[in-house]
Symmetry: D2
Subunit: 341 residues, 4 copies
C-alpha cells in the first residue's frame, strides 16, 4: 500500500487525508509546526506524528510526500522530499517569489517531473472533459479562450497583505488553466486591475477586480476575468472557442431541481458554494493521480515547471497592472523586466 507523509495538518491537509484514504493509500506520517494540531491529526488518522518535516519524509513506508504547509516553506520541503528520493505533491503556489520558484526548478533539474503542483482545477470532471475535447481536436484550432473565476466573497482583510496580491494568489489558478488548455506558452500579457469590492483592499495595495488579456506563441487570444466577490456563488467557467466549434465548461448544478412559481420559471437552485464544495471531486481525483504517479513511477501531470510558469505569469500580470503597460514574455520564463518583484 502506497504510503504518504503529510506536511501541514491544516484545513487543506485534512481534505487530502480523507482523499488519501479513499484513494486506497495510507497516511503514514505527519508533521505540523503546531505540535498540538499534529497530535490531534495523528490520533484521528492513525498517522505517526513526527518532530520534524525531515523525520516525516524519512519515516519507513513513505513513498510520497504531500506539502500543505505555508508558502514560504514550499521550496525547501519540495527539495528535501526530492533529495530523499520521494515523489512530492505541493500546494500552489510553488514559492513565495519568482526567484525562489526559479531556484526550485533549477535545483530540481531533471527531477521537475517528480513534483506535482496542486492545481486541482485541472482534475475537475467538466474542466477535464473540456480539456480532453480541445486537445483531441474537437473544436479544431483553439482561437479564443475565456476563463471566468470569481470567488463568492473576499478573504479576510488580514490575509490581503500576505497573499501576494490577486494575481499571485487567485488568478494563478487561471494562468495554469490557460497554459493547460493552450498546450503552449504565453508571449504577451496585459492586466487591468481595480477596486470595486472593498476599498480597504485597495488601501492595502491590492486590487479585487481584474481582467487579463494574453496572447500565446501561436497567436491564440486569452482573457481572464477575476473578482473577489460574486453574490450568486463561486463562478468558475471556461469557454474555448475554435475553428470548428465552441465548448463551455459551465458552473455545475448542485441538484437537478427546477422551480416554477409566480416569480420563477425553470429556475435552478440558488448556488452558494465555494471551492471545497465545487472542487470536492477534483481534490479526490488529484490525490488519485498522485497515488497513480507514485505507483507507476510516471511523470507528474502538473510538474514544477508548470508551477513556475504560473508564477511567472502572475508576476508579469502584477507588473502590467501596476505600470499600465502590456508586457512581452519569454517562453522559457525569463523575466523581461528590470523591476525586482
Amino acid at each position: 500500500m502506497t504510503g504518504i507523509a503529510l506536511l501541514g495538518a491544516g484545513r487543506i491537509g485534512q481534505v487530502h487525508a480523507k482523499a488519501i484514504a479513499q484513494a486506497g493509500a495510507k497516511l503514514v506520517s505527519v508533521f505540523d509546526v503546531m505540535p498540538k494540531a499534529a497530535r490531534a491529526f495523528g490520533e484521528k488518522t492513525g498517522a505517526t506524528v513526527c518532530d520534524s518535516a525531515q523525520a516525516a519524509i524519512n519515516h519507513p513506508g513513505v513513498d510520497g510526500v504531500l506539502v500543505a504547509t505555508s508558502t514560504d516553506t514550499h521550496v525547501d520541503l519540495i527539495l528535501a522530499a526530492a533529495d530523499a528520493g520521494k515523489m512530492v505533491m505541493c500546494e500552489k503556489p510553488i514559492a513565495p517569489s519568482l526567484a525562489e520558484a526559479r531556484r526550485c526548478i533549477d535545483t530540481l533539474g531533471d527531477r521537475v517531473d517528480k513534483v506535482f503542483i496542486g492545481f486541482n482545477r485541472r482534475f475537475d470532471r467538466s474542466h477535464a472533459k473540456l480539456n480532453a475535447a480541445v486537445r483531441g481536436g474537437e473544436i479544431g484550432s483553439l482561437e479564443q479562450l475565456t476563463i471566468t473565476s470569481r470567488d463568492p466573497y473576499p478573504p479576510p482583510l488580514e490575509y490581503i497583505p500576505v497573499s501576494g496580491g490577486l494575481f499571485r494568489d487567485m488568478m494563478i489558478h487561471d494562468f495554469d488553466i490557460a497554459r493547460w488548455m493552450l498546450g503552449e506558452e504565453i508571449v504577451k500579457i496585459s492586466a487591468e486591475g481595480g477596486v470595486a469590492v472593498d476599498p480597504e483592499i485597495g488601501r492595502l495595495g491590492d486590487v479585487d477586480t481584474a481582467i487579463v488579456t494574453m496572447v500565446s506563441a501561436s497567436g491564440k487570444q486569452i482573457v481572464i476575468l477575476n473578482s473577489r466577490r460574486a453574490v450568486y456563488g463561486y463562478d468558475q467557467r471556461i469557454e474555448a472557442f475554435g475553428a470548428t466549434g465552441m465548448l463551455i465548461s459551465d458552473n455545475p448544478s448542485e441538484t437537478s431541481v427546477k422551480r416554477f412559481d409566480a416569480s420563477h420559471f425553470a429556475a435552478p437552485d440558488a448556488y452558494a458554494t465555494f471551492f471545497m464544495d465545487r472542487y470536492t471531486g477534483s481534490y479526490r481525483a488529484e490525490i488519485e493521480a498522485f497515488v497513480d504517479m507514485i505507483q507507476s513511477g510516471g511523470k507528474s501531470p502538473v510538474n514544477a515547471v508548470d508551477g513556475f510558469m504560473a508564477s511567472y505569469l502572475a508576476e508579469a500580470a502584477t507588473l502590467s497592472c501596476q505600470t499600465g503597460r502590456s508586457i512581452e514574455l519569454d517562453v522559457s520564463g525569463k523575466p523581461t523586466w528590470d523591476t525586482p518583484s
Copy 2:
C-alpha cells in the same frame, strides 16, 4: 389580392384582421351581431360593414370566409360559406354539440377539405417542428406522448356553465394535438377529473384539473394533463417518446436573459403569459396557411373531420370522467355510448 370576409368582430377577430394584413391579404367585408362593433371595426380596417353574414360572404372580392362568431352559429356559417363556394376558416370548436358537428361534416361531404378549423397550436413554431420531426421518423416509432396544458388562471366563473366543460372547452386543443402527432385515431380513452383550483367550478358541475389516458389504433400511449391554473404562467408542452429518441417542445422563453444573484442561479425571466402572447406567431402562421390554401386551392391542413374528431374525444372524455369507466372508441367517430351528450 386575396379577399377575406370576417364574421365576428370581437377580440379574436381583431387578432385575425391584423394577421390578414401581414399575410398580404385584404379584409374585404365584416359582419357582427353588434352593429356598433362592426362599424368601429370597419372604420379601423377599411372593410365594408355588412348587414348580414350572408351579405359579407357574398360581397364582391371575397375569396375566403373567417368565422369568429359564437360557437352556436359555427355550423350554419360554415355551411353558408361553403354553399357560396368559399373556402372557410372557423374557430374551434366546430360545433356546440357532437350531433351538430356530425351534421356539419355529413352536409359538407367532400367539401370537408375546404374547411379549416382554427386549431392554431399546430402552427406554433416549436410544436410544428416537433411534429415534422416525429412524422419524419426522427424518433422512430412514437411510443408515448405526453401533452401538458395548463392555463395561467381559470376563466370567469360565469363562463363555466356555457363552456361545455373542461374537456370540450380546454382539452379539445390537446385532443387535436394528439391526433396530429399520432397520425391515427384513438381507440380507448380514460379520464380523471377533479376540483383543485376553485370549489365554485365544482359546484357549477365542471372539473378544473384532469388527466386523460388514451391508446391509439396501433397501441401508442397518450397522456394529457390539464389544469385551469398554473401560477407560473401558461404551460404548454409536448413530449414525444419513441424507439430511437425523444423530442420535447418546451415552453419558450420570452427573452434570453438569465439572472444570477443571492437567491437565483441562471434563472430565466418569470413567465406570466397566456395564449395571445404565447401563440402570437401561430395565429399569424395559421392565417398565412389559410391564405395559401385559398390561393392554391389546396386542401385544408386541419379539416372539418379533424374538428369533428376532437369534439368526439372531448365528448368521450367527459363521459369517462362522469362515469369513472374507460371507453372504447370507434375510429370513424361513431358514439359507442347511449348517453345523449
Copy 3:
C-alpha cells in the same frame, strides 16, 4: 462502531459493502448461498464468512442486517433478523407475492418500523430536495404528480419470466415515489400496458411500455410513465404541480460541458447511464440513513408497510392492465379483487 451483517454477496451487496465503509460502519459478517462468492467477499472486506444466514445475523458485533439475497428469501430473513432483535434493511421488493408481503408485516406487527426497505431513489439528492420542498409547502397543495421512469435498455429476456412483470419489478419504485410524494394512500388505479420495445417480451406475457393513472385519497392525480428502453439513457424525472408552483427533479448532467458546433447549440453531453451511475449517491445516502437508524434506535424512513403498499399497487396495476378496468383500492392495502395474484 456499528456492525453490519450482509446476507448476499452479489453485485448490489458489493455496492453496499463500499457504502458501509464510507458511512463509518463496519461489515462484520457475510453469508452467501455460493460459498466461493462469500469467501472471496470476506477476503476482500475482512468480514467473517458464515455458514448460514442465521450465523451471520447472530455473529458478535452485528447491530444491523442487510438483506441482499434473492426475493424469495426476503421475508424469512427479515423475520429472522427482527427476531434476533436487529434492525434490518432489505432490497425491494419486500416479497415475491402480495400474500407473502402481507405475512411479513402481519408477523412483524409493531416491528415494521425496524425494517428499512431499499427504495433508494428516495435518497437521491434532487428527488429528496423536491420531496422536502413539496412537504414543506413550497408549491402549496400538490395537485398533479408526473413520474417518468425509463430504463436505457430492457433486461435479458431470460429475466422477464422471473421478474414478476414490469409493474412489480420496475414500476414498483415509482409507486413508492408516488406514496412518498403524496404522504397519503392511493384509492384508484388504472393501467395501460403495451409491447413496443421487443415483441419477445410480449410473447413472454409481459409489457414493456406502460402508463398508470392513480387518484389519491384526497383527490390528487398521479401519472407514471414507464418504458423498458430509452436510447438516450436512464430517464428518471419527477414533476410535482401544485397550487402555488411546480417543481421538477430533472435528469442530472454528468458534466457541465456544453457543445456548440455546426449541428449542436448549447448541447450538454450525451447521457448513457443506468442506475448504478445515476444513483451512486443515493445508495450511499441510503446506507448512511440505515447506520443512523441503528445508532439512534429510530424509526425506519421506509418501513415494511411502505414495502407492502408498493407491492399492493404493483399488484393492482398488473390486474388493471390485464383486465382493462380501473380498480378502486383500499387504503389499508386489502385486495379489492378476487383474482388470486
Copy 4:
C-alpha cells in the same frame, strides 16, 4: 400619418420599408443612385421615386428621413435632412472617417438629438431588458462587462479592403453596446487582433479575431471578443457582472424543441442564423422608436454623438491593435494620438 423618405433602396432599405409599414407609418418617397432599383422599389411600395436625395427629402408629407446609402454619403445626407428640418435616422457608421464624423456633430450642433444612428442591437428584446435591469440597479454597481460578438462566417474577401477593418466595421456595434450599458465614457482601450479565420484577410491588412479591453471613467472593466467566423451560428451575448448580481443576455433559441437520442441529451436545435434572423425584431423596434421620435418630437435614443463616440473607440482600437500599445482616451472624443486615421 407619419411620412418617411428612404434614401437607398438596397437590402437594408427593404427591411426598413417593411418595418415602416408595420409601425403604421407611410413610406412617401425614395431615392437610390441606381434608378432601376429605385423604380422597382417604388412600384412595390407605392413610394414616389425621386431624382435626387434632396427631392426625396423635400417631398410633401415627409416628416423623417431614413439614410440607408453607402457610408461615404452619410454625413452629407444627415446634414441635408437636418437642414430641411427633418428628423433623420442613419445606418451605422455615422461616417467613413473620424474627421468626417467630427464634422457631422460639429455642424449639427444642438441638432445632434434629431439624428438617430441605427445601432439596432440596442432594440433587441433581451439586450434591452438586460440594459433596463442594469440601469435600474438590479445588479448594483456594474463592475465587469463581457460582450461576445461572433459572425457565422466572414464577409466576401472583396469587402475587407472597403470595410474599414474589423474594429470600425464589426466591433463598432459592441463599442456602442458598451457605452449604452455603462452610461459613461471609456478612458482606456487596449486591442489584440489576430488572423485565425482566413489568412487572406491578414494579407488584405485586416484582422479577423480580436479581444479589446477597456476601462471606463469610473473604473469599470469591459472586454469585447470578436471573431469573423463561428461555425455554430451568430453568437451575440452580453454578460453584466455587478455588486449584487449578474445578468446574461444569452443567444436566443429559434424554437423550444429539445432533442434526446443516443448522441444528444436535452440538445436544443442547431442555430445557424445571422443578423437578419436574430435581429428581425430589433429592426422593427428601432423603426418604431424612430416613428415615435418623429411623432413626439423627442430626443433621439441613439444620437449623433453616440455615433461619433463609437467611431472614436473603433479608431483607437485599430491604432492600439497596430501599435501593440494601450491608449488613454478623452471623454469628449478628442483624438489622443498623432497618427491621422
